[in-house]
Amino acid sequence: MLKVTNLVKSFKNGDIETQVLKGVNFEAKDGEFIAIMGRSGAGKSTFMYQMGLLDEPTSGEIFIDGHETHKMTEKQKMNFRLQKFGYVFQDYALLPELTAVENVALPLLMENIDSAKATKMAIEALTQVNLATRLNNLPSQLSGGEQQRVSIARAVAHKPDILFADEPTANLDRESSVTVMNIFKELHKQGQTIIMVTHEKEYGDMAEKIVWLDDGKIVSGNEHGK
């Protein structure tokens, strides 16, 4: 379970300090699929980066499965990210010199899984997103939709506790976007906790719960019928 209390994030530019998150409180239970929505500049991505331990909040606390993440060292956070989280970025964030299967296997290797097993797990994850025939292609040889599916495979191959997705459909055409969202729905069905930032209501509606963020604060959270 993930719990955020009174989270504040400010950015300083010279003497000017801009508060992007203004005391956010939030909770995500295991297995939930939550969409964080809001207008541009509302602080959606910043909020996700704090929860995903990719950035340091100015103040506030984040608890994940009882762990006080604000007390962790950078190295502990890195291990936490490796073992507990999966990330899907808007621009896929694949390593250009690694093939699809190598991109997916890399975090598994870092978890000290032997090469053969890591490759097997990577192939399984890529098969799950219908890329079994594109295993040895470099990112430059894949379409945007395919790259995003590789990114999802990399994020879920090690069975993370929470999958963070930052605008995963923003760079995709409609067909690829629907494919990606269907993968998320399928993962959710399998019990995967997903926290997704999106500005597209159509895809936000596919989540179990929508959290609206405006001017650095959560303004509403509603649950859809499952």
């Binding site: 980066y49 950035d55 890195m78 964030a93 390593l95 010199e97 890399l106 975090p107 290797l109 870092m110």
Partner: protein
């Protein structure tokens, strides 16, 4: 930092980055490393080779393996005839070459001088009385005759003159200082003054060598020089000793000193007998070689630093992603260390193959000819490997530092490309 997991991941990333990077970029970096290697090994090898060549020239043409000269308080070697006879009986000795040496002035073109105030073209030099056959077997002197012919034991009033004393051959071209002789060729009659005694002699041959000092001397048969100087005690000024192959000069020098010869004369090995000017040149060249090598090393380190820094900077986003998905910063840094290692080792390996497979064998057959002497590149294997190790260490440091600088940056800033 260097956990087996980090090394494994670092190697995994480095291999793929090298394999899938532009072959032109990789080729260019390896090319830079190759030339850095050649700069490190080659430039020093030429300088040390030149110095060794000078030393070898002196040893072959002048001092031999062991060189005996008068004590500082004497003008000649005491008991020279007995000493020479004794030396010839020693089993370690191959050739004993006793020489009479005196200061001389040689004048040319004096017959054309009509004005008594006009300065006569003259040059000062050492005149050496030799047994032509012995000297030839010792130093191959006849091989260095570039004009005319070599001396015979019965030559009368004939000399060999060193090319450095002649205007047309002197180092650096014709001299304007008047310390060399003009219009002197084989067959020219010159006037020789030794110990105040003047005699007209004919230049039988001109000798030239790029090493040693024979190009600065005048040679004539020893009986002629003794007759000219009016001495008859047969005391020589130099005894050059060539040892048989495999004999140790230092041990032989010790043997002579233990025999009491040190009381009669100064006994030195070739290295000890090297003129102080040559020793200074040796030290100077060695220092220059080290300085050039050091500069080459710094340039290579800066090159690799820039290459890795630009590489890491352009890949900052991907470094951020790697950190974001949980790849340790250390593993990323190690991947850059492996890449630097690859560049340094590949460049050095090509350099080693070129140096030991082509350059050195070719150079051994065709030494480089420089005005100061022949150069056989000096590149001992162990010394070369030490230089390779220095190059590799410098390259690895130069690769690691920029990678560390980029890896240390905030993960999210790297992913989003924020400053």
């Amino acid at each position: 930092m260097f956990s087996s997991l980090n090394i494994r991941i670092g190697f995994h990333l480095a291999i793929r980055q090298i394999r899938r990077s532009s072959p032109w970029t990789t080729g260019l970096i390896v090319f830079v490393m190759l030339f850095t290697f050649l700069n490190l090994v080659g430039v020093t090898g030429i300088l040390v080779g030149l110095v060794n060549g000078i030393g070898r020239g002196y040893q072959q043409e002048y001092t031999g393996d062991v060189f005996i000269t008068p004590l500082d308080t004497q003008n000649y070697i005491q008991n020279s005839p007995d000493l020479v006879s004794f030396l010839k009986t020693l089993p370690e000795v191959s050739v004993v070459d006793p020489r009479y040496v005196a200061g001389a002035t040689v004048q040319a073109n004096y017959k054309n001088v009509t004005d008594p105030n006009q300065k006569i073209n003259s040059a000062g030099a050492s005149i050496v009385g030799i047994d032509p056959a012995t000297e030839d077997s010792f130093s191959n002197l006849s091989k260095y005759v570039i004009e005319g012919s070599y001396l015979s034991p019965n030559d009368y009033d004939q000399i060999l003159i060193g090319a450095q004393l002649l205007n047309q051959y002197a180092f650096g071209g014709p001299s304007q200082t008047g310390t060399t002789l003009t219009n002197v060729h084989a067959g020219t009659v010159v006037r020789l003054t030794v110990n105040g005694v003047e005699r007209e002699v004919t230049v039988k041959g001109i000798i030239y060598s790029t090493s040693g000092n024979i190009s600065e001397r005048i040679f004539m048969p020893n009986s002629e020089l003794l007759a000219l100087t009016g001495t008859n005690d047969y005391s020589v000024e130099e005894i050059a000793i060539r040892l048989k192959p495999g004999e140790n000069a230092a041990s032989f020098e010790k043997l002579l000193l233990n025999s009491g010869i040190g009381n009669l004369a100064k006994v030195q090995t070739a290295a000890q007998a090297l003129p102080s000017g040559v020793a200074q040149i040796t030290a100077t060249f060695a220092t220059i070689g080290n300085a050039v090598s050091f500069i080459g090393l710094v340039v290579a380190a800066i090159t690799i630093f820039i290459v890795i820094f630009v590489n890491a900077l352009t890949r900052r986003k991907f470094i951020g992603i790697l950190k974001g998905i949980g790849i340790s910063g250390e593993a990323i840094e190690i991947s850059y260390i492996f890449q630097s290692l690859f560049y340094a080792l590949t460049g050095s390996a090509i350099g080693l193959v070129l140096m030991f497979g082509i350059v050195l064998p070719l150079n051994a057959v065709h030494p480089i000819q420089l005005p100061l002497g022949q150069v056989v590149l000096y590149a001992p294997f162990i010394g070369t490997m030490v230089r390779v190790a220095i190059l590799v260490v410098a390259t690895v440091c130069a690769g690691y530092i920029p990678a560390r600088m980029i890896v240390k940056k905030n993960t999210l800033d790297s992913i989003l490309g924020r400053n």
